[in-house]
Symmetry: C2
Subunit: 313 residues, 2 copies
């Protein structure tokens, strides 16, 4: 019996160490160094293609190392076993930190003040109150709800949009294709926390940016993407940042990661680029959560945070 770490693009060693510490009695292996493929019962996966898993006939469950699971749907079919997402409170907290930091940074005009600083220019800019600024959250799951709580404490006006109807305290909620235009029309800072699904792929492009509040208190709308890069249309983001439809943006995710050297985004001074670090999977924390899930499954209790394969999240 063994538990497999199958992470594409990440160093597996910290995961093996952390899992072994959380489950001292289990055998932990890192792909492709597997002694007996038939002994593999559980697999922790990140960005692995479905076909890779075909050689493990006795898999009982998969755990996705991240809040999103789109990285698993890029390839072929997955084995017919339960797939559970990681819902890590630290990961949620990290995401909220990043979102709140970026919202405040744009609200308090830090890009302009940094530019003034480089020119030794001491100039006070008009500053709206938080309650005069509407933050529009796309995606009202665990991450959206947590960010909304903090942004409300800071006094921002809040609007939310999701696929299906939702109700959140202090958030004016909209849903579906029919609700999108009204949601966008009064949004000053758009924050994307959506999962990547066939429906959200390429959802945020030129027409979305043009529908944002173009006469808001910040002198133009701001786009913040901490969801997935393929939800936005990157050429449209670049164009909107260049022609002023967007005043500024903060992007943690991109259509291709790492962001290619030739991307025009690097040259724009009204965008903040971070290398997909908004919410990072911490092996120490996640291994404890996965140990709990493995124990539950062994004791025939149901897994938490199961992915609905038909919705894709």
């Amino acid at each position: 019996m063994s538990i497999l770490v199958l992470v594409d693009g990440w160093e597996p060693a910290p995961w093996v160490r952390a899992l072994q510490a959380a489950m001292p009695d289990e055998r932990i292996e890192a792909y492709p160094d597997v002694e007996d493929p038939e002994a593999v019962e559980y697999a922790l996966v990140w960005a692995a293609q479905g076909e890779t898993l075909d050689v493990f006939p006795n898999l009982k469950a998969l755990f996705s190392l991240g809040a999103g699971v789109d990285h698993l749907f890029g390839g072929n079919t997955l084995p017919p076993v339960p797939l559970a997402r990681v819902v890590d409170p630290d990961l949620t907290a990290w995401m909220t930190e990043w979102v709140v930091a970026q919202v405040l940074l744009h609200h308090r005009q830090q890009l302009q003040y940094s530019q003034q600083q480089r020119h030794r220019n001491w100039q006070v800019l008009p500053q709206p109150l938080a309650r005069e600024v509407q933050v529009g959250l796309m995606g009202l799951g665990e991450l959206g709800r947590d960010a909304a709580g903090l942004l409300h404490k800071l006094g921002f006006g809040l609007r939310g949009w999701s696929r299906s109807p939702k109700e959140l305290d202090n958030v004016t909620c909209f849903y579906g294709a029919d609700g999108l235009d009204e949601f966008l029309s009064a949004t000053d800072i758009l924050v994307c926390l959506l999962p990547l699904t066939p429906e959200t792929n390429g959802l945020i492009g030129r027409s979305v940016f043009e529908k944002l509040n173009q006469s808001g208190p910040l002198g133009g709308p701001v786009f913040i993407n901490a969801g997935r890069g393929r939800i936005h249309v990157e050429t449209d983001v670049v164009a909107a940042l260049q022609n002023g439809v967007l005043k500024a943006a903060s992007l943690d995710v991109f259509e291709v990661e790492p962001l290619p050297q030739e991307s025009p985004l690097w040259d724009l001074d009204n965008v903040i680029i971070t290398p997909h670090v908004a919410a990072v999977s911490d092996p120490r924390t996640l291994s404890k959560l996965i140990a709990r899930q493995v124990r539950a499954h062994r004791e025939s209790r149901s897994l938490e945070y199961l992915v609905d394969m038909t919705r894709g999240y």
Copy 2:
């Protein structure tokens, strides 16, 4: 009877307009255009010297346009009338926004990521959790308490220091000269929200920076000053930023404002400079508060937020 606006270095017109809107039946005048000095009953003051007020013999009360009142103590004696501070909830919210923005910006290593961005460098930096970082607040008045509330929601560890003993939820509190070293020793991000008084003048310099936690999770301590510039020793701030005793700083206030063109701070890439905008006095909001105070005083009720002249705040 009239109410006088006496603001040095600010444009008085927005104040006159906002006050007139809040008190349509009162006569509002802007210094030095005063029809009858003997008719002036109340004065709203910012950075005015005491002697200027000697020509108004019938003053009944002074209102300081800002949370601090140090700007009034620089000159000669003030008239023997009550002096009330402005405690504006919007001003507190603005200060909390700025402090939270700067704390998050350093916590999430935005200066390093911006530098990487300029070099098209996609590199993930190790990221501590908020609960692994101790924010140390100097000054536990209205502003310190409000910032502490938000920083706690974000998960930061909190320590506080004040002149006299205080108790705050979720904050490990220290006080007085005896408590300073212990407060500093575990502080990773030092936030100054102190008032400027003879006791705090020059309080934060080299020895304070050296006593901060030099082996914390952020790779060095951070100094954030949103109090008053003369609380820090600016040559010591520059030296500490240059020799690595401080990893970085965010400064909204300076010994001399505007920050002189020749200041070496402008050239440092590990400091964020904003032009005293953390908490700005909004004429609209403050005029409503002052109208309430004037009405209370006329009806022989006591003024709120009176300044204790012996403490200086």
